[in-house]
């Protein structure tokens, strides 16, 4: 028609583009996007609780769950696991033992309280009904709003996978009190507006939010506050953390103070001057400041302090500054790769601190690889708060085994060492326990009331016990543990042999 276009979609170019995409696609890993947070709780429940019986999860420690006759430790109203990976049913106050949750007393290794006495694996006799939003006679709907894409990359994906896997597994074993659990997950893209909107849209549909994790979770505060919907999870902002309907397991942002555990361990290691290097973001700065006070309280002065940027091509200047200031120990708050690279620089420069202290984020294997290997991790310590994943612990701590095997079953590529994955397992388990305490047809209010009665909560030794999941003033990490790198992996050194130490004092 006389109209000439000098540009356009020509066949040759299309083929080139196609070729590029095909090559790129064929290069792709076999990441299955079916694992990306499918909505819903997986297959419908079986014929009854515990129907799939012992050993349903491959190498899972069916025997440990099945036995349980001794009652074991555990908090008040501990979940009872019946038969292999049998269903979670209420044990009421049947669980025995003081449990490891009592602050002030180091717990016995492995006394996680997972192996509790048998309980009836049956649907409650009371007719089930729709007792509140998000709960029908057949289903319980839960919401998760997490930052799964965006500025934090895929850092939090495992934490959401964990919630999904936990409830899929629960459904496979009969569900929760005869109801199937449906999990609805929304990605907020680390955007407070999307976080708020997601909470608003999910709130009418869900009974509770469980395991939400996002840097932008301040967006949720007003929705959670106005609706009073239960929120069990790991808050990263104070407005969410301070809500009366918010509960957490083990770690919690927005609280003042830290325990002196790390400082005491540093003193034991002979540290006399401690340096602090932290990522230049709010959460890291807050944590570093709290830990600094703890060190000063035990008489270890701060010799150096610096904030590193999100991207640093080289850390030598910081390490040199630590050496110049005669620091014989340092605490680093950074991401996995940055932490490993920093540790590699420490090794490369021949700097030999008595304690190179890292936090829970660096538990991933990638940290060890980035550091250059075991020889670069001399005197490296990890301030932890959960059971390290070792062969011994997998045998000794049933809940750890169940967490790892279940996560890998539903998400084979998932890394159980990833940040907050184990903690979210604890959060999911806490929800189940509170739900069971609230009775077969709970409302949100009755659920919260029941949940508030749970003290010294211990999710089977998987993570450190929580004195009060609804606490607003108690600092995090009252109980905890510390690891030291030995051989080829982290080994628990405090308390030696396993369990958690709750004896340290709190410095605010």
């Amino acid at each position: 028609m006389g109209r000439k276009r000098s540009t356009g979609w020509h066949g040759g170019r299309a083929l080139i583009l196609l070729a590029l995409v095909v090559i790129a696609a064929s290069c792709g890993s076999s990441l299955s996007r079916e694992e990306i947070l499918s909505v819903g709780g997986g297959s419908a429940g079986g014929a009854g609780l515990g129907a799939d019986g012992t050993g349903a999860v491959g190498s899972d420690v069916g025997g440990d769950f099945a036995a349980g006759a001794s009652g074991g430790a555990g908090g008040e109203g501990a979940i009872t696991d019946v038969g292999g990976v049998g269903g979670d049913v209420p044990a009421g106050d049947a669980a025995g033992g003081a449990g490891p949750g009592a602050p002030g007393a180091p717990s016995a290794p492995g006394a996680g309280g997972a192996a509790t006495g048998p309980a009836p694996a049956a649907r409650p006799n009371v007719p089930l009904k729709a007792s509140d939003k998000g709960i029908t006679k057949d289903t319980i709907t839960l919401g998760v709003v997490s930052g799964l894409t965006g500025a934090a990359g895929t850092q939090f994906v495992e934490s959401a996978h964990t919630i999904d896997a936990f409830f899929k597994d629960l459904n496979q074993r009969g569900g929760l009190q005869g109801r199937r659990v449906v999990v609805k997950i929304i990605d907020d893209g680390i955007d407070a507006g999307r976080n708020a909107s997601a909470h608003r849209s999910l709130e009418p549909q869900v009974f509770a939010f469980v395991g939400s994790l996002s840097i932008a979770d301040s967006g949720s505060a007003s929705v959670l506050r106005d609706t009073g919907v239960p929120d069990i999870g790991f808050a990263l902002s104070t407005p969410r953390a301070q809500l009366p309907n918010h509960a957490f397991v083990t770690f919690q942002a927005g609280m003042k103070g830290q325990t002196t555990m790390t400082a005491e361990e540093a003193k034991r290691a002979g540290v006399t001057r401690m340096g602090f290097v932290y990522l230049n973001v709010d959460a890291a700065i807050t944590e570093a400041n709290a830990v600094k006070k703890a060190f000063e309280s035990v008489g270890i002065p701060i010799c150096y302090e610096a904030a590193i940027q999100l991207v640093e091509p080289d850390y030598t200047s910081y390490v040199q500054a630590l050496q110049r200031n005669n620091c014989d120990g340092f605490y680093l708050v950074a991401q996995t790769n940055a932490g490993g690279k920093f540790q590699n620089t420490v090794y490369r420069q021949g700097y030999k601190p008595k304690m190179a202290l890292h936090n829970i984020v660096t538990y991933e294997r990638a940290f060890i690889e980035a550091s250059g290997g075991p020889e670069a991790l001399e005197n490296a310590y990890l301030w932890f708060g959960q059971a390290p994943i070792t062969q011994e612990n997998l045998q000794k701590i049933p809940e750890l085994n169940r967490f790892v095997t279940t996560l890998k079953r539903y998400y084979p590529n998932a890394d159980p060492r990833k940040y907050a994955a184990a903690i979210n397992w604890g959060n999911a388990k806490f929800f189940v326990e509170a739900f069971n305490k609230a009775g077969p047809n709970p409302t949100r209010q009755s659920f919260l009331a029941a949940a508030r009665t749970i003290k010294n909560y211990d999710p089977g030794g998987l993570v450190a016990p929580t004195p009060d999941p609804f606490a607003k003033e108690v600092p995090p990490g009252t109980c905890g543990n510390m690891l030291k790198f030995q051989g080829s992996d982290w080994v628990q050194v405090r308390p030696a042999g396993g369990g958690y130490d709750c004896s340290s004092r709190v410095v605010k």
Partner: protein, 659 residues
């Protein structure tokens, strides 16, 4: 101090690699490639796939990434960017940002489970001791390779016929063609070299910063300062810039006292340096501005007739009102986000669409407004006073930023505004007392006597009213004498000067106005959210606003609405990670398509209508004279004639007022 210098050379080589990649692509293609980091990371992912996941030898990984995928990506890139050589710089920027978004999400889709660590191609461990510093083999390798590449590419660009051809094509395509140089082939080769360089940089740098698109892109942004020291031309000077930057950072890290301003200063050094260099070099920067200023006029032409626009806006307006009564509360809440963002984008219509200035820092002004409201009004609802305060505070800051426009335009103005955004992120928004940190600060819903604006529906209407007010302001401005002056400022500043108009005052005025509009919109944004934190106003948000604005069409009110939709879709769709990634991929593709329709989706629609008319009622060639033709000659602009227009000549159709 010797140790700091040694460390500076080591760390600076990483910056230099990133910066030199930018310079090579820029010199060879004329495009400042914001997607450089993403391209490098994509190549690093391919390298990881072959060497780590498949366990093949390192050589196979290098061949696959640098000799197979990089050339293919280079060819595709050339195809994408070819029409943009003479397009408005905001379109160039936005398309390269679109490529960044696309590659980022393609990488996430294909390699989402790749670990963040990537082994260096050089052996690990200690190598030599220089002064008081132990230097590893990987660091030695990075330094040597960076120097070698700087030398090699300088030789290629300035001493070989190929390099001279590349530069000739960038400088004047027509002259190069007259000299028998195939501009397409040369440009294609230039892109291949540029992408290969990006790939080499990615494979070398990923072990240092992590196998993460965001981190490598951030590293490249830091390296802009190094590239600017070389005036985007000299690779040796770019290398020197990287080293000096690293020495400066190292000096602060080594000697600075803890805490306080030093933390922010170290992180901001690169951006401060960028601003200083832009000011110092303002007269010596590559001469792209003339072309870009002329083509900026492409924004002006409205592709739709007045009647169609009037009808369209009437339908949209009616639908907006009706929706308030039939939509769910949740949908209305999310729809309000669209309206609020569209209001923010109207500030870009004034700045970019009307006067041809670029801003990659608009979210910072939105943040100024929101945080001002949180302090002035808090939760008591008196945001009217906050709006006044927000405008009053933002205007002088806008003037400050606008000062850069007196000496800079196009890409360099964009970089200056980007540096402003990063400085705001690093220095101002980090102050807890101002922003509340990650917890943010609360802002109440507005209060009117007798009217409760706390409900979702009421606030929706409030947001619509503010949008309508802004839209009226924009349309009135455009039709006014001042508006025509702004358009003249964009199209023919020299002519305007001869008429006795004070260009500096006009430029500063439009920056102040746009900043104030964004800031007032920020008050509405904060009131909508009820709690805001610094993440809401980061550079990424500024980029998002510009991209959305250009996708919709930066010259019109309707374009702002479409842009608002682009930003709000993930919220409206309540995305899962999978859908979020797919959406981002789609945005990337749309932006790439935008390269053919630089006036935004509205113009795309107009072209579709044109073609539909053509099919339904074929007409003679004579009848078609004077009708718009999409993208004649691949210039990325519109012509009023059916014949291909000269690539440096921008023909603008009769201007019509914005609707």
């Amino acid at each position: 101090m010797t140790g700091v210098v040694i460390v500076g050379i080591v760390a600076g080589s990483a910056y230099a690699l990133a910066g030199m990649g930018l310079v090579v692509t820029y010199r060879a293609s004329g495009i400042f490639n914001f997607a450089q980091g993403a391209m490098g990371m994509f190549m690093a992912f391919v390298y990881w796939q072959v060497t780590i996941d498949w366990g093949w030898p390192m050589v196979a990984g290098l061949v696959a990434s640098l000799l197979i995928v990089a050339p293919l990506l280079g060819i595709v890139s050339e195809w994408v960017f070819r029409p943009l050589r003479h397009a408005a710089v905001s379109v160039q920027i936005v398309v390269s940002l679109g490529v960044l978004v696309f590659l980022q999400n393609l990488g996430l889709t294909l390699f989402g489970d790749a670990p963040i660590g990537l082994p260096s191609i050089f052996p690990d461990g200690r190598a030599i001791r220089l002064a008081s510093v132990n230097v590893g083999w990987d660091q030695v390798g990075t330094v040597v390779l960076a120097l070698a590449l700087a030398g090699l590419l300088t030789w290629v660009l300035y001493r070989t016929p190929l390099g001279i051809s590349m530069r000739a094509v960038v400088d004047s395509e027509e002259t190069a063609e007259l000299a028998g140089i195939s501009s397409v082939n040369v440009s294609r080769l230039a892109w291949i070299i540029g992408v290969m360089f990006a790939g080499a940089g990615g494979i070398l740098l990923a072990p240092l910063v992590g196998l993460d698109v965001n981190l490598l892109t951030l590293l490249v942004i830091i390296a802009y300062a190094a590239a600017m020291l070389g005036k985007l031309e000299s690779l040796p000077l770019t290398y020197l810039g990287g080293v000096l930057l690293a020495i400066g950072e190292g000096t602060i890290g080594y000697w600075a006292p803890p805490g306080g301003i030093w933390i922010g200063l170290r992180g901001s050094l690169a951006f401060l340096l960028l601003v200083v260099l832009l000011v110092v070099y303002r007269r010596q920067l590559p001469r792209e501005r003339k072309v870009i200023d002329r083509t900026a006029a492409a924004f002006e032409r409205e592709p739709w007739p007045v009647s169609a626009r009037t009808a369209g806006l009437a339908v949209v307006g009616a639908a907006a009102v009706v929706t308030a009564w039939i939509a769910t509360d949740q949908f209305l809440y999310d729809l309000t986000a669209l309206v609020v963002v569209a209001t923010i984008l109207l500030s870009l219509v004034v700045l970019t669409g009307l006067s041809g200035q670029i801003s990659l820092g608009q979210a910072s002004f939105v943040g100024i407004g929101a945080f001002t409201a949180s302090h002035v009004a808090g939760t008591d609802g008196s945001i009217w006073l906050a709006m006044l305060a927000a405008a009053a505070i933002a205007a002088p800051v806008g003037v400050l930023v606008g000062l850069s426009s007196l000496r800079l335009s196009g890409l360099f103005l964009a970089l200056a505004t980007m540096a402003f955004a990063l400085l705001m992120d690093n220095l101002v928004f980090r102050i807890h007392e101002i922003t509340g940190g990650v917890d943010g600060r609360e802002i109440g819903r507005p209060e009117l006597p007798g009217i409760d604006l706390s409900s979702t529906r009421a606030f929706y209407f409030f947001a619509l009213a503010v949008f309508a007010l802004f839209a009226f302001l924009v349309v009135s401005l455009r039709r006014s004498r001042v508006g025509r002056r702004l358009q003249a400022l964009r199209d023919a500043p020299d002519a305007l000067r001869t008429l006795g108009v004070n260009l500096a005052a006009t430029r500063l005025g439009v920056f102040a106005l746009s900043a104030s509009m964004a800031s007032v919109a920020g008050v509405v944004f904060g009131s909508y959210r009820t709690r805001v934190n610094p993440l809401d106003f980061s550079l990424l948000k500024s980029i998002e606003y510009l991209v959305a604005s250009v996708i919709g069409g930066v010259a019109s009110v309707a374009g702002a609405l479409i842009g608002g939709l682009v930003v709000a879709i993930p919220q409206l769709a309540a995305a899962t990670p999978e859908t979020a990634t797919r959406f981002q991929l789609a945005v990337g593709l749309v932006v790439v398509v935008l390269a053919r329709f630089p006036q935004g989706l509205l113009s795309f629609g107009a072209v579709v209508v044109e073609h539909a008319k053509e099919v339904l009622a074929p007409s003679s060639v004579d009848d078609m004279v004077g009708e718009p033709v999409a993208d004649p000659g691949g210039t990325g602009t519109f012509s009023t004639t059916p014949e291909p227009a000269p690539t440096t000549k921008v023909l603008v159709a009769e201007r019509e007022p914005v609707s």
